[in-house]
C-alpha cells in the first residue's frame, strides 16, 4: 500500500509545518469548492425543501398547512408500502448478485488486449446508449407472448416447447424479466468501471505471483480482489442504491404487476405524488427512504474501508 500521508513532506522544517498544512487545507477546499457549490445549490437546497414539504399538507397550488406527523403516520397505513419494501429488498439482493457477477465476469473477459476485444466491449456496453424508459418498452415488445420475437426464437431453438408469458405470467417471471432487462442495460456500464479498476493493477504483481507459483484463482483472491476494493465499493454502492430506488423497470415493463407483485418503493412514492397528488406524503416516504439509504451506505462504506484502513488517510 502506498503511504497516504497528507501532511508535509519529511523534508520540510518542523516549525513551518502548521502554516503549510493550513495553506494546504485551503487549497484542498478550493479544489472541492465547485463540487460543493453544485451540491449545495442543486441538491441540498431542494433536499431541505423536500424535508419541509414532508411536514405539511402540500397542495399543488395554494397555502401549505403544517400537519406533522400526519404524513409520516400515513406511511404505516399505506396498504402498498410494507409489500413494496419487502419486494424491493428481495429484488435488490437478487439483482445485485446477478448484476455484479455478470459485470465482473464480463470485465475479466475483456480486460486483456487481444483481437476483437474492442468489439466485445462495445457490444456489452452499447445497451447503455438506450434510455432506460425506452429500453423497458423495447423489452416489453420483445418479450410479448403473442407479438414478440423471443418466444418463437426460443421455440425454434428447442429451448421452449410452448410460448411463455414473460412479463406478466407470474410474479417470478415478471421479476426475472426485470432482472434480465437490468442486466442487459447495466452490465456493460458496471463492466467498464470494474475494467478501470482491473487495469490499474500493475502487471508486475501478477508476474511476481506467477514466479512464486500462484495459480489463477490465488492470483485473483490475493491480488485482484484486494486491490480492487475501492472500485468494488463504488460499484456496489451504485448498484445497491440504484436497485433500492428501482423504478422504470417496474413502472414500464411490469406495471408493478402481475397483481402488485413487483411494486417497488419508488413506485409507491410516485403514486402518492402524481396519482394521488399528495406531495407531502410523497416527500415523507422519500425522506424515510433517504434516511435508510444514508444509514445503509455509511455502514457499507465502513465495512468496505475497514480492510484498507491502516494505509488510508
Amino acid at each position: 500500500m502506498v503511504a497516504s500521508n497528507t501532511s508535509a513532506p519529511s523534508t520540510a522544517p518542523a516549525r513551518a509545518r502548521p502554516r503549510w498544512a493550513a495553506r494546504r487545507q485551503q487549497i484542498g477546499a478550493a479544489y472541492a469548492a465547485p463540487a460543493a457549490v453544485i451540491v449545495g445549490v442543486f441538491f441540498l437546497v431542494p433536499l431541505v425543501l423536500v424535508l419541509w414539504m414532508s411536514l405539511h399538507d402540500w397542495p399543488l397550488i395554494g397555502e401549505p398547512a403544517f400537519n406533522l406527523p400526519a404524513n409520516y403516520a400515513a406511511i404505516g397505513r399505506n396498504p402498498l408500502f410494507a409489500d413494496a419494501v419487502a419486494f424491493t429488498l428481495k429484488y435488490t439482493v437478487i439483482v445485485t448478485i446477478v448484476l455484479f457477477g455478470s459485470a465482473f465476469g464480463l470485465a475479466l473477459g475483456v480486460q486483456h488486449h487481444r483481437r476483437g476485444v474492442g468489439l466485445f466491449r462495445t457490444a456489452f456496453f452499447l445497451p447503455g446508449a438506450v434510455g432506460f424508459a425506452t429500453a423497458s418498452l423495447l423489452f416489453y415488445g420483445l418479450l410479448s407472448r403473442d407479438l414478440g420475437p423471443v418466444n418463437p426464437i426460443l421455440q425454434a431453438l428447442g429451448i421452449l416447447h410452448r410460448p411463455v408469458s414473460w412479463v406478466g405470467g407470474s410474479a417470478n417471471l415478471a421479476l426475472g424479466s426485470s432482472i434480465g432487462l437490468v442486466v442487459w442495460r447495466f452490465a456493460g456500464f458496471n463492466m467498464l468501471i470494474l475494467l478501470n479498476g482491473l487495469q490499474a493493477i500493475p502487471d508486475d504483481l501478477y508476474e511476481a505471483a506467477r514466479i512464486d507459483g500462484a495459480g489463477r484463482w490465488q492470483q485473483f483472491t490475493a491480488i485482484t480482489l484486494p486491490l480492487m476494493r475501492s472500485t468494488i465499493a463504488l460499484v456496489l454502492i451504485v448498484m445497491i442504491t440504484g436497485s433500492l430506488l428501482a423504478f422504470d423497470q417496474f413502472y414500464i415493463l411490469t406495471n408493478g404487476g402481475p397483481d402488485n407483485s413487483t411494486t417497488s418503493i419508488v413506485m409507491v412514492i410516485v403514486r402518492e405524488a402524481f396519482t394521488r397528488f399528495d406531495l407531502g406524503s410523497a416527500a415523507a416516504v422519500s425522506v424515510v427512504v433517504l434516511a435508510a439509504l444514508i444509514a445503509l451506505n455509511v455502514l457499507q462504506l465502513q465495512i468496505l474501508r475497514r480492510g484498507d484502513r491502516h494505509g488510508d488517510s
Binding site: V2, A3, N5, T6, P9, T11, R24, Q25, I27, G28, A29, A30, A32, P34, A35, V39, F42, F43, V45, L47, V50, G109, H113, R121, A123, F124, L126, A129, V130, G131, A133, T134, L137, L138, F139, I193, N196, G197, L198, Q199, A200, I201, D203, D204, M228, R229, L234, I237, V238, I265, V266, I269, V270, F274, A283, S286, V289, L290, I294, V298
Partner: protein, 277 residues
C-alpha cells in the same frame, strides 16, 4: 509441447465462442430494433416494403429532428464539460488534500444517489425558477451534472488515489504548485477515469428523458428522447413500436461511433506502477 499448443487453442476457441455468444445476446435487442425499424409494418411510417419511412417520420415530427438533435448536443456538451471539470478538481481534492468538511461533503455528494429523483424534481424546478434557469438548457445541464457528480467524483478520487504520491511530492519539492502537479503530472495518469466519467455523463444526458421533460417546457427546447417518447405514444398507452425502434437506432448510432473512438482511452498499461484500484 504439442499438448500445450492444443490446450491453448482450445482455450482460445472456447473464449471466443463464449464471448461471441454473449455479444450476440447483448446485441440482439438492438439488432432487432434496427431491423424492425426498416421492415414493413402495417400502420407505421413504413407500411409496405423495406425502407426508411419511420426515420422520415421522425425527421419531420414536431420541430423537426435537427432541432431536437441540436438541443441534445448542447445539453450533452454542457453536461460532459461541467462534469469532467468539477469532478476532476473534486476528485483531486478528495484524493490528495485534507480540509474541513471533507468527509461530510463526500457523503453529501454520495447522498445524491440516494434520493428518489421524482420527488427531488419538484423543488429543483422551483429552485431553477428562482435562479431564472427554468426552461433553459443551461439549467437542465447543471441539474444533469449534479446527478452525475456522485459517480464521477468517486471515480476521479479512485483514479487519483491509484497514482503514487511520490510523483507529486517529488514535483512539489522541485517547486511546482499543486495546480501544476495536477495539469502536468496527474492528468495524464487519470486519463482512463476522465474518459469513463465523460462517457457516462454523455450517455446519461443523451438518453435521459424525464429530467428534461420536467425542467423544460417549450417544445423547441426539448432534446431528442422527449420527442421520440412523444411520437411513440398512442391512445390508452398503446405504443407505435416502429417509431420507437427508429428512435432507438437514432439514439444508439452516435454512441456506437463515440464508444469505438474512445476505445483508445482504455488501452492497458498506461498506469503501470500504481498500486490501488
Amino acid at each position: 509441447m504439442t499438448r500445450g499448443v492444443m490446450s491453448n487453442r482450445l482455450a482460445r476457441g472456447s473464449y471466443y465462442t463464449t464471448m461471441t455468444a454473449l455479444a450476440i445476446l447483448f446485441l440482439f435487442p438492438l439488432v432487432w430494433a434496427g431491423w424492425a425499424s426498416v421492415k414493413p409494418t402495417p400502420g407505421s411510417g413504413q407500411p409496405v416494403g423495406y425502407g426508411l419511412g419511420n426515420f422520415v417520420k421522425l425527421m419531420h415530427y414536431g420541430q423537426g429532428l435537427p432541432t431536437y438533435l441540436f438541443n441534445s448536443i448542447v445539453i450533452a456538451t454542457l453536461t460532459v464539460t461541467g462534469t469532467v471539470v468539477v469532478s476532476t478538481l473534486g476528485g483531486y481534492a478528495f484524493a490528495r488534500f485534507r480540509f474541513p468538511g471533507r468527509d461530510l461533503l463526500f457523503l453529501a455528494i454520495l447522498a445524491i444517489l440516494m434520493v428518489p429523483y421524482p420527488t427531488l424534481l419538484i423543488p429543483l424546478y422551483v429552485l431553477l425558477g428562482w435562479l431564472d434557469l427554468q426552461n433553459s438548457l443551461v439549467g437542465l445541464a447543471l441539474v444533469l451534472m449534479m446527478f452525475q457528480l456522485p459517480f464521477a467524483t468517486f471515480i476521479m478520487r479512485n483514479s487519483f488515489e491509484a497514482i503514487p504520491r511520490e510523483l507529486d511530492e517529488a514535483a512539489m519539492v522541485d517547486g511546482a504548485t499543486s495546480f501544476q502537479v495536477l495539469t502536468h503530472i496527474l492528468l495524464h495518469g487519470v486519463r482512463a477515469g476522465l474518459v469513463t466519467v465523460g462517457l457516462f455523463a454523455f450517455l446519461a444526458s443523451w438518453s435521459d428523458f424525464v429530467v428534461p421533460l420536467i425542467l423544460i417546457s417549450s417544445a423547441d427546447r426539448f432534446p431528442l428522447p422527449v420527442a421520440v417518447v412523444n411520437m411513440q405514444q398512442n391512445v390508452f398507452g398503446s405504443i407505435d413500436y416502429a417509431v420507437l425502434e427508429a428512435g432507438v437506432v437514432v439514439l444508439a448510432v452516435p454512441c456506437i461511433l463515440l464508444f469505438l473512438i474512445l476505445q483508445r482511452g482504455y488501452v492497458r498499461g498506461f498506469m503501470s506502477g500504481s498500486l490501488r484500484g
